[in-house]
């Protein structure tokens, strides 16, 4: 099973069952306080459940960091429409592989989180929208769901309480954009993954036009512990306004890459040095992407930062999805910027012109620069095109492409300048034509 050696500095709340024999099975789950949080929730009025999640200071683990309890409170319980619980398991942010290990090692924790959310908002159906590449995890989840039905935790009249809740997995088919919540809902309904105009937000009009609780896998997985041990206990693990722990996926030029559960606010340099074992081959740290490629890059000297949503934002980047990508002194930042833009251009759904055209042009200009065919004005042009995308698209993909690009150019400008041809520029071999 996919699971790295734990580190002594870890605080294992969501990952506490990782490494246990048969950690996927409901027997292991029940023997280790499984479904205790849900049983507690069954005794509580729905408003109390939401209140407990609010107290926990749990913030959305998909990347935006929106308070989960607040999001749940927006669902109109009195609405005559059916309500839905939808899990975003479309993990696609480059650098991020935490939801995969959560679902693979402890699928019942996710199901229990969904059950508690269903109880809080009065939902009777839940979907786990999961990226198509994770086929083997769909099989794991389907087995866990079947076990939960067999033991009376899903289906009709759950544990004799009269509560009904069905859970289904739903496969995606290859699209980063479908990790954006409104595009995900379009995809769930069998359409192209294009974002919806908001408001209305999914809490009011989500899956099939009905009120919907939609959170990331890790967010739901934190909920059983919050109900079991209390919201205050979870909140106390983190920093003010940033409750609990977070799964950080360390990748890149690091000695011990892996997924580690650390308290919110854990220092980034310490994470790299102590948990990750430092930069590989004793090299010097050059830069870190703190939360997946949508986040502006941090230079080595900016990395003395507490890893919670607010502190990383203050440092000029984002905590994002917790994908920490470490780059050593040998890293070519122009190549990184080109590869990141190729990704966003490929994944732009094409719905909004600034994103569709902006990502294509940025990719072309960056590739031209990387190939040594750039012009001096290209460097400012990259920043200008990026700034023109900011805030001008329906969904955050445009910003996700623009923000890091601005950071690469501003923070590593000399590397871009070094790529400029030394002599009088010759006409570009490949003209900049939109194909």
């Amino acid at each position: 099973m996919l699971y790295n050696e734990p580190h002594p500095l870890e605080v294992r709340v969501l990952t506490r069952r990782f490494g246990l024999p048969n950690s996927q099975s409901i027997d292991t789950y029940l023997a280790t306080d499984g479904y205790v949080g849900f049983r507690k929730a069954l005794e509580m009025p729905p408003e109390r459940i939401i209140e407990e999640v609010k107290i926990s200071n749990l913030r959305g683990r998909g990347g935006a960091g929106f308070p989960a309890g607040l999001k749940w409170s927006f669902v109109p319980r009195e609405s005559p429409l059916p309500k839905y619980v939808v899990v975003n398991a479309d993990e696609g942010e480059p650098g991020t592989c935490k939801d995969r290990v959560l679902m693979e090692n402890d699928p019942h924790q996710l199901i229990e989180g969904m059950l508690i959310a269903a109880r809080a908002v009065g939902a009777e159906t839940g979907y786990i929208y999961i990226r198509g590449e994770y086929r083997y995890i769909i099989d794991i989840l389907d087995r866990a769901i079947a076990e939960a039905y067999a033991r009376g935790y899903l289906g009709r009249n759950i544990l004799g309480t009269g509560m009904n809740f069905d859970v289904y997995t739903h496969t995606g088919a290859g699209s980063y954009e479908c990790g954006e919540e409104s595009a995900l809902l379009e995809s769930l309904e069998g359409k192209r993954g294009q974002p919806r105009i908001r408001p209305p937000f999914p809490a009011v009009s989500g899956a099939f036009g009905c009120p919907t609780v939609l959170n990331n896998v890790e967010t739901f997985c934190a909920v059983p512990a919050i109900l079991r041990d209390g919201g205050a206990a979870f909140a106390a693990l983190g920093t003010p306004r940033n409750g609990g722990t977070r799964l950080f996926a360390l990748s890149g030029h690091i000695n011990r890459p892996g997924v580690y559960e650390l308290p919110m606010g854990f220092n980034l340099l310490r994470m790299i040095e102590e948990v990750g074992g430092g930069v590989r081959q004793g090299r010097k740290l050059k830069a870190v992407i703190p939360g997946g490629t949508s986040c502006p890059v941090l230079k080595a000297e900016e990395c003395d930062v507490a890893m919670d949503f607010d502190s990383v934002a203050k440092a000029g980047s984002m905590l994002g999805s917790g994908g920490v990508i470490v780059m050593d002194e040998t890293t070519d930042m122009v190549k990184v910027a080109v590869r990141v833009m190729r990704f966003y251009q490929h994944e732009s759904c094409g719905w909004c012109v600034p994103c569709r055209e902006g990502t294509i042009w940025l990719r072309k200009i960056l590739e031209r620069l990387d190939a040594g065919r750039g012009q001096p004005s290209d460097i400012d042009l990259i920043a200008e095109v990026s700034r023109n995308m900011l805030g001008r698209t329906f969904c955050p993909l445009g910003d996700a492409a623009a923000m890091p690009t601005i950071s690469y150019v501003e923070k590593f400008r000399e590397e871009f300048e070094a790529r400029l041809p030394k002599k009088v520029p010759v006409p570009a071999e490949a003209p900049l034509v939109v194909v």
């Binding site: 480059p94 590449e133 086929r135 739903h170 309904e189 890149g252 990508i325 590869r339 990704f343 759904c349």
Partner: protein, 160 residues
């Protein structure tokens, strides 16, 4: 057209997952599962699913062209999907992709003449902490090296 008994059972179950009148929600899973069995989203597959879900073939084409895992042309029996996104790139993902191109004698999206192998450069597959990584069909391979790749190709040739 007809599908296997297993797939028919899967489809029959799938359409019950969604609210009445919203069966179109089954479209993307159905296309992917049908593709797994047939080898591609052929015009016959489109026609059949169009009939079953009462979605026009044009609307299905719209969906197929959007999702990167759906494809209308058959691929090799073993489809290599090499991630070259940042975490993999930093640890040699691009070099692995080039190695495979040379080793299989095909370009991105190419299929070997014997239909055994095909190749695709893909975006992040969620294996960043075990990079560089690739998938052969739905199977993950982590910490891949050129040597491991060569052995993998040999093994796949032998079992075919």
């Amino acid at each position: 057209m007809t599908f296997s008994k297993e797939l028919e059972a899967k489809f029959a179950d799938l359409v019950t997952h969604y609210p009445p009148g919203r069966e179109r929600a089954a479209l993307i899973p159905m296309l992917l599962f049908a593709q797994d069995e047939v080898g591609a989203v052929t015009p016959e597959v489109v026609e059949e699913i169009s009939r079953r879900l009462r979605v026009s073939p044009l609307e299905i084409e719209e969906v197929v062209s959007y999702y990167s895992m759906l494809h209308k042309e058959p691929r090799g029996k073993y489809h290599f999907q090499v991630c070259t996104n940042i975490s993999c790139m930093l640890l040699g993902g691009m070099e692995l992709f080039e190695h495979l191109k040379a080793r299989l004698g095909i370009d991105n999206h190419g299929v070997t003449p014997d239909g055994l192998f095909s190749l695709e450069e893909v975006e992040c597959i969620g294996a960043c902490s075990w990079a560089p990584a690739l998938q052969v069909n739905y199977d993950y391979h982590h910490w891949v090296t050129p040597e491991k790749l060569d052995r993998l190709i040999e093994d796949l040739r032998k079992v075919s």
